[in-house]
């Protein structure tokens, strides 16, 4: 009885704080569903709920194009990251070859480099390669910058796989790529999912690289599209809210569906 009561107070307090944390997002969703003329106060009850704002930004606002661009870049990012990081980690963990220490050190140093510090040379490289304005430029930069984290995430999973498993496959005459593809990857599902989700999320949410590398309207992602839309439509709060909801909804849904994987990945990535 005493225990139940002592827990009830913190639980109620935390629940209310939790609701407070969600309130700004919820109010934004609510505003996005209001008729454009009735957005005077955030909590005013609208005469009717409408999808009008969504249709406006999706069509006239160009958000259908931005959404598609974001989706392509983030999906390719996620798949490329899974393949490249898992292969590199496999090589570093299972295969004996000289120079591994240096390679590890190189990746380790990459953990500390913030994208903001290197965007200027990154932009000039992309300009020299004539890639500015292409989705490929963003994908290359995204994957290169986040690779170290995921190489270490895969490696920390691979070192827990018993070495005997790999030895046995080798003595059976299996090639390394066969072991990688048919034995190691199938038992690495948790890291694969975590990597795909996190890379998708970071790619979906990033603004700075896309602001520099995607100057033209047709190639913009949602992040850049929203920034310019905000600049042009600051008074039209219902449309702006609809745009924000379009950008937030996919990742919030992904998060709610795969919460365990997200949390594990973020925890592991942080503790490494």
């Amino acid at each position: 009885m005493a225990l139940a009561r002592s827990l009830a107070v913190p639980r109620a307090a935390l629940m209310s704080l939790g609701v407070l944390m969600v309130a700004p997002t919820a109010l934004t969703l609510f505003t996005a569903l209001k008729p454009a003329s009735e957005a005077s106060t955030p909590w005013s009850i609208p005469s009717a709920l409408t999808f009008d704002n969504f249709l406006r930004v999706w069509g006239e606002g160009g958000f259908s194009v931005y959404f598609w661009n974001s989706l392509v870049i983030s999906a390719v990012d996620a798949v490329a990251m899974i393949v490249l990081a898992s292969a590199a980690a496999y090589g570093l963990v299972f295969i004996r070859f000289p120079g591994k220490g240096i390679i590890r050190l190189a990746f380790l140093s990459g953990l500390m480099v913030p994208a903001a510090a290197i965007v200027l040379p990154l932009y000039s490289s992309m300009r020299r390669l004539d890639l500015v304005g292409t989705h490929l430029s963003v994908i290359l930069a995204d994957v290169a910058l986040a690779l170290p984290i995921f190489v270490f995430l895969f490696a920390s999973y691979f070192v827990k796989i018993p070495g005997a498993l790999h030895e046995a496959a080798r003595t059976d005459g299996a090639e390394e790529w066969q072991i990688y593809w048919t034995i190691v990857l199938p038992i690495s599902r948790p890291v694969i999912i975590t990597t795909g989700l996190l890379e998708f999320l970071w790619s979906w949410n990033d603004l700075l690289l896309r602001l520099l590398l995607l100057p033209e309207e047709q190639t913009r992602t949602l992040a850049v599209g929203l920034l310019f839309f905000q600049g042009a439509q600051t008074r039209d709060i219902t449309a702006l809210s609809a745009g924000a909801v379009i950008m937030a909804l996919p990742v919030v849904i992904l998060f709610v569906l795969f919460q365990r994987h997200f949390v594990q990945g973020m925890t592991a990535g942080a503790v490494k």
């Binding site: 913190p10 590199a88 200027l120 910058l145 905000q230 973020m266």
Partner: protein, 307 residues
């Protein structure tokens, strides 16, 4: 045939060498794609940004002029740079203090709540997964002169506190830091919670036997046990704050009158918008140095902890 050429049939150095050679090639093939991409678009730009910082260059013209340390001496005399640096440190300090203080407190409460924990955790994590630009749009709207925050203050009879939050140089930086904390607190709580759950229950029993009240147990058992994870939260939120760009750029672009200018936004303005690549690169190097020093300090403290 294959038996003849296998290593069993040909013992000795040559076959061993060829095995080693093959394993070297295979290893290289696995690592090379990732390494090449990383070297070209992460490592090379890091070296290049240091090189740029010694140049006078507009980023376009093939002519680049080597000017030695001139960008750095200019930086030292640049009042805006010092303001951006001081803003970056202040904004990071607020973010770290809020994340650690509220993070430890709320995680300690959350650890005691069984039922409802997932719901609460989800509520705190939703702002973490949404983009900084989305958070910026939401908070710009909340902070408007006629926005939700001022309306609530007036409703509570605290109308004298209401102000144009993003237009007032006095409060803009803390206001932005709070918006940033909204997007980072959930992860800090989750991390600290993971640390709390790894604390040995026996220690609490021992403390209870010694007659410690819950607060004493928290101070003498919980806090020492979660120090490593708190260190992780400090370094994670600090580096996250140092490199902050998206949120500020979308909310104030560093204004009003530079009062929310950070190193990253100033670098972007000078380098990308005004095409002063050399000078922008010098600001970027300052940013790089701060992050590296913070990380080095962190790993030094961690290694000292282990010995």
């Amino acid at each position: 045939m294959s038996v003849l050429t296998s290593s069993a049939a040909l013992p000795g150095r040559r076959s061993l060498k060829s095995v080693a050679w093959r394993s070297w090639v295979t290893g290289a093939l696995f690592v090379a794609p990732a390494l090449a991409l990383f070297a070209a678009f992460a490592l090379a730009p890091t070296i290049a940004v240091i090189e740029y910082s010694f140049l006078k260059w507009d980023g376009v013209n093939p002519e680049r002029q080597w000017i030695g340390l001139a960008n750095y001496t200019k930086l030292i005399g640049d009042r805006i740079f010092w303001q951006a640096l001081s803003n970056t440190l202040q904004w990071s300090a607020i973010i770290v203090v809020v994340n650690v203080g509220l993070g430890v407190g709320l995680a300690a409460l959350l650890a005691r709540v069984g039922r409802g924990r997932t719901f609460i955790q989800t509520c705190f994590m939703v702002p973490v997964v949404i983009a900084p630009i989305t958070a910026a749009i939401i908070w710009r709207w909340l902070y408007q002169p006629d926005g939700a925050i001022n309306l609530i203050l007036e409703g509570l009879g605290l109308g004298t506190l209401s102000r144009p939050w993003l237009g007032d140089p006095e409060v803009v930086l803390p206001a932005l830091a709070i918006a940033h904390c909204w997007t980072s607190l959930g992860l800090s709580i989750v991390l600290i919670l993971a640390g709390l759950q790894a604390v040995d229950e026996d220690l609490y029993d021992a403390a209870a036997l010694d007659g410690a009240n819950p607060w004493q147990a928290f101070v003498s058992v919980t806090l020492p046990a979660i120090r490593p994870v708190v260190a992780v939260v400090v370094i994670l939120t600090a580096t996250g704050a140092f490199k902050g760009f998206d949120l500020i750029w979308a909310m104030t672009q560093g204004g009003p009158v530079r009062s929310s200018e950070l190193l990253a936004t100033y670098m972007y303005k000078r380098g990308a918008l005004e095409n002063q690549y050399g000078y922008g690169a010098a600001i970027a190097v300052a940013l790089l140095v701060i992050v590296t020093v913070a990380m080095a300090l962190y790993s030094y403290l961690q290694s000292r902890e282990q010995h």
